[in-house]
């Protein structure tokens, strides 16, 4: 009996994912060497994950990391053409995994490392020149929306994970686990548009909320409403505009939206 192509592929894949050995019955040669494929699969996944998550690796040790990667990739086999996306769901998986969910420093490290990885090689976009803001008509400001650079990430941290991560990535054994931050909050991770080096900084609470609102399509008036919870009414516009200027200067904004045709500069 010969199996058809689709059946053979299902059986072979099943075997490599640790399932049934049915494929062995359809091989002419090399049954013992099926392990080459199986070993290669596990080794490849581990290598990619270790490359992206050296901080998590250093935190939970070789055995813990090997177990986490194996369990994670069983739950989330790659559905990506590029293997660099393999770790996409790792932070969320860790946050939910019985073995790790009680250790926020581990899940924070994973989220931070994934943000670094995305910021490093996300697609390029030209940052918005600051002059573009100056040319927006006053009546267009309240409804103004903003496109964010694909490299810009936001991560909530309660531990100072960055120095530990830097040491782990450089193969120096970090000495102590990351200490708690004095002020937990959201950190921005992004790529400098000139040097292309990945940078990070903590955000004020209202700045973080504003950025999240903008990411969700919120306009300038939404940004002002958020600022109004932090500063007195007379300072609201300046605070919101200050955020915006910082974001444009850092290259986080790549485009403007929500401008009615009638007030586009070219129409005036």
């Amino acid at each position: 009996m010969t199996a058809e192509l689709a059946d053979l592929q299902s059986m072979m894949q099943d075997r490599l994912l640790g399932g049934s050995d049915a494929i062995a019955g359809h091989l002419a040669q090399g049954g013992p060497f099926l392990k080459v494929y199986g070993n290669g699969y596990g080794a490849r996944l581990h290598e990619v994950m270790a490359d992206v998550f050296p901080g998590v690796h250093a935190l939970i040790g070789d055995d813990g990391f090997a177990r986490a990667v194996q369990d994670y990739t069983e739950a989330h086999p790659s559905r990506f053409r590029s293997i660099r996306w393999l770790g996409r769901d790792f932070p969320a998986w860790l946050a939910d995994a019985p073995a790790w969910r009680g250790q926020p420093v581990v899940t924070e490290m994973a989220a931070y490392e994934w943000a670094l990885s995305l910021a490093f090689d996300a697609p390029d976009r030209d940052p918005l020149p600051i002059e573009a803001l100056a040319s927006v008509a006053p009546e267009a400001w309240p409804g103004l929306t903003f496109d964010l650079h694909p490299a810009l990430q936001a991560v909530r941290l309660s531990h100072d994970v960055a120095p530990f991560r830097r040491a782990a990535a450089e193969d120096q054994d970090p000495e102590a686990a990351p200490p708690k931050l004095e002020v937990p909050g959201v950190w921005a991770v992004w790529r400098d548009s000139e040097t292309l080096i990945v940078r990070y900084r903590p955000l004020a609470d209202d700045e973080a909320q504003g950025l999240e609102a903008v990411r969700g399509g919120g306009d300038f008036s939404a940004l002002c409403e958020i600022a109004a919870e932090t500063v007195p009414p007379e300072e609201v516009a300046a605070r919101a505009a200050g955020f915006l200027k910082d974001w444009v200067d850092a290259g986080w904004i790549t485009g403007l939206g929500g401008i009615p045709e009638a007030v586009l500069p070219s129409d005036r």
């Binding site: 592929q9 013992p32 559905r79």
Partner: protein, 284 residues
Amino acid sequence: MTDMIESLSGFGLGLRPPHFPALLDGIEGQWPGIDWFEVISENYIDVGGMPMRNLMRVRERYPMAMHGVSLSIGSTDPLDRDYLRGLKALADRLEPAVVSDHLCWTGAHGINLHDLLPLPLTEESLAHVADRVGQVQDALGRRIALENASTYVTYDSDSLTEWDFLSALTARADCDLLLDVNNIYVSAFNHGFDAQDYLAGIPGDRVRQIHLAGHENNGDHIVDTHDAPVVDPVWDLYSDTIRRLGPVPTMIERDAKIPPLEELVAELQRARRLSDNAVRGAAA
């Protein structure tokens, strides 16, 4: 990008990130002994930042080939149109002399195992792959080259040799070949066929590019590891290949234990020497 060099000739290397500093900042213009580079397509699809800046800087100095690992031409899953769009966008940007992937499948039911898995060598596979090569070439607007992969198992249902399969495929789908001489050696060892039959059986005029690489011999089977220098028997087989085919753009792949560029260039000089000798010997 109008002044980019279009054709591939001579001897190249697989472009690997550890070599970017030496290639881009250690030297102006081309590194002596390297005529072109091959890039792994997936590493640059929908990618920006430093990797893409480095890639484009290398592209300004060298002709390029694009080599994919996830086309999964033999899978019974539908072709991934998003992937093909990304591949085409990268090809439009790099203007590579060759776009290649492997005769294999990499997963089914939406999963990617990120490995080059063997196809049963049957008429069913042949028809399936030929049809899909046609679709891919239409989507990309150019011919692709398929590479023979190293394999560790064969199927009960195999009814064709790999060289007959490739001959029929290139004729039916009007596609090209990327011949990996190390992979011929590895598969010949693992499955007990004669590598000379393979060389005699493939359509030589379809071969656009040659790969060489190191492997790991475990006594009863060889694993294609790309982590070591090319071994002498593979060099011999390379000479045989050039005697049969004439000069073909040739490169060395190293994917693990990556040594300094100087070391790979020295190995590449051996390819150059053997190729020259083989061409001269064949002409005499």
